[in-house]
């Protein structure tokens, strides 16, 4: 309780102390506005805004808004807004005392054929930004990365230092030693539980609908909770506010259509994508024929009528995706996965006060099912229903400091039916409510110093063993010279919604979610992060980050479960640490990145410490994209990972195979060689590396804008090993040399 009292005292004192400044501040005003795309009206998230005279910068928030407070009155100010892929724009404004001056920027995209990467004012914006562990990826950046069979959000993450994958066939990612289920994945604020298509090869989010995404690799702030490792916050586009637009695209795998346009006082966007061919899956799945079929569909409608309510924007959004493997034979099992999401959100910008707030409700469901038909495969069913209510209030003080607080209430029901590898049946139906209140104070009044300090008060949690707790979250930045920032973060994170994950599966078909059972404590992870950011010239950034993460009560599947009454999980521990470096340079013609990560991850169960399957000691990525003019863009990315852990073989023995219930008397014909394994994950597979190249061309034909992409994955046909088939001795490799192409047409 002493910790709770300390943070409550801290927060209340801060609010009282700093909110009074508004009353007594004289001779200063506020500039507030939004940065949008001039053609579509789309908000530009995380754009840079700079007051030249004051050399003060900031970034737009996740709705495209920015605020400058405490600007001395009666002076002309030159404000510059810039964003990747847009021409920078300069406006002048006169600030009046005790008034909020609205200043909206509409940026013009660089010509269709000319991609530019401009980031004016970034240096100023970041000197006090408490963003250690945060990586924002805009769609313009995503487009400049090498494309694969499909442009994929999750695959783009593997270029981010600290993010690991276990190979080409899965887009599941692991961050700083955390397991995949410890990543919170949000679509417009709503949790998505199985965001994968095609057995995990692709994400379910069509990049065409995405405006921006921010990835917190750790140390994430108080407004996020419920997961122990990371947050991926995906924000979709609002749709073209100015004119109707349609686009269609085709790849070797899917066809998709996107429609967007204005409605009275708003806009809409609708997108759908569906597979039309399975043949490309063979490349991913060792030439197996997979009758896989998937689709996804999303929409978003925005309504902002000043006559109805000033400063209000109402958003309705929805998403559905389904994957099916239907096999012709009654003796072969079928599979089905489905996500559904629907949400409504009310954004409000307060008149004449620098306050933003939003309130929203979402319903997110997931159902995964293995339908055995007449096969020997065991039936499995997982159902998740998540009804969430969230409100967030952001108050910008005259001092430029911000107070953020809100509530996050979830009602979650999970159902799971499965039979494990010992024949033990689990039928778990659980329901719980998660009620959290959070508050934080962003102390950013100084250009060279910032603190984001807050807490998350978990009033009620999903599992019965979780009582009320308070999780502190602190992040700070200090720039002792403008070119160098020191960043630190610390936080405690709890999780009591987990997956039943088979650690030894490279390709997992069924990762059911369930509320942490009563016999386990919730997972608690503590993050310690430190970093340095160097920005010696405008377009060159060097970032160094180190981290240490300690995780208690880590649920690990009980592989020894024999009886129904045996627990499904056992409590283990996790530990990870490492350091990451990133160097990026960009200008109008080139974008160059290079990163290196050196990391260690461990899990401990019953005193036995081992490397999890995603532990990679060294990762090195380098990418280069060059705008060669006239709509041509060439990009390449080379990825190197040192080998993944694997368990060695110590030999074989003849295992008695009971195929028939009447037990063949011919015992010696009923045995098969079976492998004996050494210590778990003690050895390493060969290193992984791959070079991908993409050539893209944009061209206009009358009213049609076309984008053609030609990609080659694994240019030099590296034989990256996926696994060693112990039964056949076959070495199964990942993606071979794989050319692919996509075509997109905008009408």
């Amino acid at each position: 309780m002493s910790r709770i009292n300390f943070y409550l005292f801290f927060l209340i004192s801060s609010i009282i102390l700093f909110s009074t400044q508004r009353i007594y501040s004289q001779g200063v005003g506020t500039i507030r506005g939004q940065v949008t795309d001039i053609k579509t009206g789309e908000a530009l998230l995380y754009a840079n805004v700079l007051i030249k005279e004051l050399q003060t910068g900031t970034s737009t928030n996740d709705r495209g808004y920015f605020v400058f407070t405490s600007i001395p009155q009666n002076k002309d100010y030159t404000i510059v807004a810039s964003y990747v892929g847009y021409e920078e724009k300069t406006l002048t404004v006169v600030v009046q005392a005790n008034r909020v001056t609205e200043l909206n920027f509409t940026l013009n995209p660089t010509s269709f054929e000319l991609q530019t990467v401009e980031k004016v004012g970034e240096k100023q914006a970041e000197t006090n930004t408490t963003d250690v562990g945060l990586r924002v990826i805009t769609m313009k950046e995503l487009e400049s990365m090498p494309q694969g069979v499909e442009t994929d959000l999750f695959r783009s993450l593997q270029y981010v230092p600290g993010v690991k994958t276990t190979g080409d066939i899965s887009s599941r990612y692991y961050i700083r030693g955390g397991s995949a289920d410890q990543n919170l994945i949000l679509l417009n604020g709503a949790a998505v539980y199985n965001p994968f298509h095609a057995l995990g090869i692709f994400s379910i989010f069509d990049p065409e609908i995405v405006n921006s995404m921010e990835l917190y690799k750790g140390g994430f702030p108080a407004e996020f909770g419920g997961k122990a490792s990371s947050v991926l916050n995906i924000i979709t586009k609002d749709g073209n506010k100015n004119k109707f637009n349609a686009s269609a695209a085709i790849s070797l795998l899917t066809g998709k259509v996107l429609l967007e346009g204005p409605i009275p006082h708003g806009s809409y966007i609708i997108s759908g994508r569906k597979t039309y061919s399975n043949s490309i899956f063979k490349k991913f799945l060792n030439n197996q024929d997979v009758p896989l079929d998937f689709y996804d569909f999303s929409f978003k409608v925005n309504y902002a009528n000043e006559e109805f309510s000033e400063g209000t924007k109402i958003v309705l959004h929805g998403f559905t995706s389904q994957d099916k493997i239907n096999r012709n034979s009654e003796l072969s099992e079928d599979y089905k996965w489905q996500n559904n999401l629907f949400g409504v959100k009310w954004f409000q910008v307060a008149k004449n006060t620098p306050v933003f707030w939003d309130i929203g409700m979402t319903m997110s469901t997931y159902q995964g099912e293995i339908i055995p038909k007449l096969s020997n495969v065991k039936p499995q069913l997982n159902d998740v229903k998540d009804l969430s209510f969230k409100t967030n209030i952001n108050y910008v003080l005259n001092s430029r400091d911000e107070v953020v607080f809100g509530f996050d209430i979830k009602d979650i029901k999970t159902e799971l039916e499965l039979e494990n590898n010992r024949g033990a049946v689990s039928k778990i139906s659980s329901k719980g409510s998660q009620i959290a209140a959070y508050a934080k104070y962003k102390f950013i009044r100084f250009d060279n110093f910032g603190i984001d300090a807050g807490f998350r008060l978990n009033v009620a949690q999903l599992s019965e063993k979780s009582g009320s707790t308070i999780d502190p979250r602190i992040s700070l930045t200090y720039s002792f010279i403008p070119q160098v920032s020191v960043k630190l973060a610390y936080g405690i994170y709890q999780q009591d919604l987990i997956t039943l994950t088979k650690e030894d599966q490279i390709l997992t078909l069924f990762e059911p979610w369930l509320i942490t059972p009563d016999y386990l404590e919730p997972t608690i992870s503590t993050h310690y992060i430190g970093g340095l950011t160097f920005r010696f010239i405008e377009n060159l950034t060097l970032k160094l980050e180190g981290y240490y993460k300690d995780t208690k009560n880590l649920p690990i599947i009980n592989s020894e479960k024999v009886f129904n009454s045996d627990p499904d999980f056992r409590a283990g521990e996790g530990e990870s640490y490492g350091w990451e470096s990133f160097l990026g340079y960009n200008n109008e013609l080139i974008n160059f990145t290079i990163s290196y990560t050196n990391s260690w991850s461990y899990k401990t169960l019953d005193g036995w410490r081992y490397y999890p399957k995603y532990d990679i000691r060294h990762s090195f990525n380098t990418g280069l994209s060059i705008n060669i003019g006239k709509g041509w863009l060439i990009s390449g990315m080379w990825i190197y990972n040192s080998g993944l852990p694997f368990t060695q073989l110590t030999g074989y023995y003849d295992k008695y195979i009971i195929n028939d219930i009447y037990f063949d008397e011919d015992y010696f014909s009923s045995t098969e060689p079976y492998t004996l394994l050494g210590d778990k994950n003690i050895a390493r597979l060969p290193d992984y590396h791959r070079l991908d190249l993409t050539l893209s061309k944009k061209l206009s034909l009358g009213s049609l804008n076309m984008t053609f992409n030609f990609s080659i994955l694994n240019v030099y046909d590296r034989k990256n090993i996926l696994y060693f088939n112990r039964e056949t001795g076959e070495r199964v490799n990942m993606l071979p040399f794989l050319p692919s192409a996509t075509l997109k047409v905008d009408f």
Binding site: S329, R422, G423, L649, G651, Y653, D717
Partner: protein
């Protein structure tokens, strides 16, 4: 370009490491016969990742095997058994006791002492007998259904059981009545224009449902191509039920874990209840129930009815 040339396109992988010797015991005690067998073997290495390239005999001789139960003990004799494997005569060591009839609900302890003095031990408890749940509809064909459904109950839960219908018939072959058994699958599935029998697999279910079309097809199959149906006499219909002990339940279940077609598992677990080694020491009990049938049903195929019985064996 130089960079691409100097990097390797494939690295070798040696997935092996030397491990300790591992000894294996396999024995399933059966209640439907008096001969019980224990098999002892050891692990081995293989070249070129092909374990079948090692053709040595992995069985272990000169061991001493006993099974204890209540106040008794059964000694197993080290016996050399010759079998034809892939066209080659091979000899293996087995441990046999020909006078060992197991009983339900009894604990058995196996002890195998290897010739180096190493001991391997394991326990099994045979399941209780099951009770057949009487149902007036359990007659072939059932009066008002197109399938036959038979249930049973066990004392212990969490044990696998499996059941299979079969019928016994005689065929007149050159004036001599030859006895045959024909198993009836749960159903037939049409795969590539061929009817494939689908048999029930062991599970926790304590009921078997068999479609009458499966009986019809199985009945028809025995005389397929033979116009002289009168040569066939259907003696009786039987339901056989096997109940596995908990070890065999877990062992069988662990083998079927690999069923998910597209999952790739690298470290599948290996269930054993052998202390000090690998393998399985389990047991099952088998019971048989006669199922009533009507003469009209037999005659509808042109066959002769033998017995009409509802007597349990």
């Amino acid at each position: 370009m130089i960079f691409i040339l100097i990097i390797s396109c494939e690295d070798d992988l040696n997935p092996f490491i030397k491990g300790e010797d591992v000894f294996i015991v396999n024995c399933i005690l059966k209640n439907d016969r008096g001969v019980q067998t224990v098999y002892l073997s050891k692990n081995y290495q293989a070249e070129n990742f092909d374990p079948k390239s090692n053709t040595e005999d992995h069985s272990i001789g000169n061991g001493f095997v006993r099974v204890f139960f209540k106040d008794s003990v059964k000694i197993f004799s080290d016996t050399l058994v010759t079998q034809n494997i892939d066209g080659n005569e091979k000899s293996f060591n087995s441990y046999i006791n020909s006078n060992f009839l197991t009983k339900p609900n009894t604990e058995y302890e196996l002890e195998a002492v290897l010739n180096d003095g190493r001991k391997l031990r394991a326990f099994t408890k045979t399941p209780n007998k099951v009770s057949f749940i009487p149902d007036s509809n359990n007659i072939i064909p059932p009066p008002d259904k197109n399938y036959i459904s038979v249930g049973w109950s066990t004392v212990e839960d969490q044990l696998y059981s499996s059941a299979r219908f079969k019928f016994i018939y005689f065929k007149n072959e050159n004036g001599k009545q030859v006895r045959y058994e024909k198993e009836v699958p749960r159903t037939y599935v049409l795969e590539n224009n061929v009817y494939v029998p689908y048999y029930p697999v062991p599970s926790y279910l304590q009921r078997i449902n068999v479609e009458m079309i499966a009986f019809d097809r199985a009945m028809a199959e025995i005389s397929e191509g033979d116009p002289d149906k009168k040569n066939y006499t259907i003696l009786t219909f039987i339901l056989e039920i096997l109940v596995y002990d908990k070890n065999l339940t877990a062992y069988y279940a662990s083998r079927s874990e690999l069923g998910e077609s597209f999952a790739i598992t690298t470290n599948e677990s290996d269930y054993t209840n052998i202390s000090g080694g690998r393998g399985i020491f389990g047991s099952f009990i088998k019971q048989r129930f006669a199922v009533r049938f009507t003469h009209e049903y037999i005659k509808s195929f042109g066959y002769e009815p033998g017995l009409t019985s509802s007597i349990n064996e």
